[in-house]
């Protein structure tokens, strides 16, 4: 499904819902359930809670559908609304996180990285994002959720792109300090990409 078709379908569904057809909202839920759940997952890293938060976002969208101005795309409006819902949900009941200082980097030399250890390391980094201060955490979540589209992430947070960029940079610096071993491993990744045969032989 391309973006234009999706936008047209969203618009048509919204018009139908506003005209009183409750069932037309199902099309919107079908199209956006996966993005909204995955976005919520990045906020809390708890599957069942992510679904609850996404459900709440859909209900708020249902209630506020008439407030969507056609100036921005439906997806932009929906993501901004969902971000607001997730932010306030997590203020009420914070996600279970460790302080950033106690987010341990998995040990082990770069050359001994097994797939399992690699996964554990990646998960540790993703969880460390949740331990960032809120003003840095949310830009990271939204930037990578929107596949590194700075404009989309900034618009979901109603922030200027410059501010968003500055917060992202600060967040990366905080994570970099917390995970110094990433340097060696990124070098290994680069070497592997350059000499795949040699790395396999080792």
């Amino acid at each position: 499904m391309n973006a234009t078709t999706s936008a047209e379908e969203d618009l048509a569904a919204v018009e139908q819902v506003l005209a009183g057809d409750v069932e037309a909202f199902e099309g919107i839920v079908r199209r956006w359930q996966s993005p909204l759940i995955n976005m919520a997952w990045r906020y809390c890293r708890d599957r069942s809670r992510a679904e609850e938060m996404a459900q709440e976002a859909f209900i708020r969208a249902w209630r506020g559908l008439s407030r969507w101005r056609r100036e921005s795309s439906f997806s932009t409006w929906l993501f901004a609304l969902a971000a607001n819902v997730y932010r306030s949900e997590l203020k009420r009941f914070p996600a279970q996180t460790l302080p950033l200082e106690s987010a341990h980097e998995p040990s082990g030399a770069a050359s001994q990285l097994s797939e399992l250890e690699e996964r554990r390391r990646q998960e540790a980094l993703r969880r460390a994002v949740l331990a960032l201060p809120l003003r840095y955490r949310e830009p990271v979540i939204l930037y990578y959720f929107h596949e590194m589209d700075l404009a989309a992430a900034a618009s979901a947070m109603s922030l200027p792109q410059g501010t968003m960029k500055a917060r992202l940079s600060r967040a990366r610096a905080l994570l970099r300090r917390r995970f110094p071993q990433l340097e060696e491993e990124s070098a290994v990744v680069e070497l592997t990409a350059l000499n795949p045969g040699k790395e396999a032989a080792n």
Binding site: V22, S34, I37, N38, W41, E183
Partner: protein, 146 residues
């Protein structure tokens, strides 16, 4: 001297490279996230809640027009009352000029003093009560409760 500067700038350059590499690695990890698939009952659950919400009567919208008018009226009455209380305490002001700005003073109502005045107050209270009752019925009716 120049060598020191060169070495320092090379170190800074190396540091910046290292930071850039690490940040690229952080970006790579955060950008590659496995996608969650919604559970089978998710959509049904959302639609069930939406249907329940749709079946409820619409909430009564707050009557801002009436509220603003009421607040202005109450504020005006309160202000006038305060002014009337404080007026004797302001001898420096030109009383005649102030009288021109305010409602007739109680002395001007002397001919109405006595039982007629009391009846007037009671009648006014009744009219205000009636208006309040009619207003609340109208609001409840527009909200579908009556």
């Amino acid at each position: 001297m120049n060598w020191t500067k060169t070495i320092r700038s090379e170190e800074n350059g190396a540091g910046a490279d290292r930071n850039a590499r690490m940040e690229a690695e952080i970006g790579r990890i955060l950008a590659t996230e496995e996608k969650l698939i919604p559970s089978s009952g998710f959509m049904a659950s959302v639609m069930e809640q939406v249907r329940q919400e749709a079946a409820l009567p619409r909430p009564i919208s707050f009557p801002w027009t009436w509220a603003v008018a009421g607040i202005l009226l109450a504020g005006g009455v309160f202000g006038w009352g305060v002014f009337e209380i404080l007026r004797p305490e302001l001898p420096a002001l030109d009383i005649l000029a102030l009288r021109a700005l305010t409602l007739p003073s109680p002395q001007a109502w002397v001919p109405l003093a006595g039982p007629v005045e009391e009846v007037g107050w009671v009648a006014m209270a009744l009219v205000i009560s009636l208006l309040c009752w009619l207003l609340s019925r109208r609001l409840a009716g527009s909200g579908g409760l009556l």
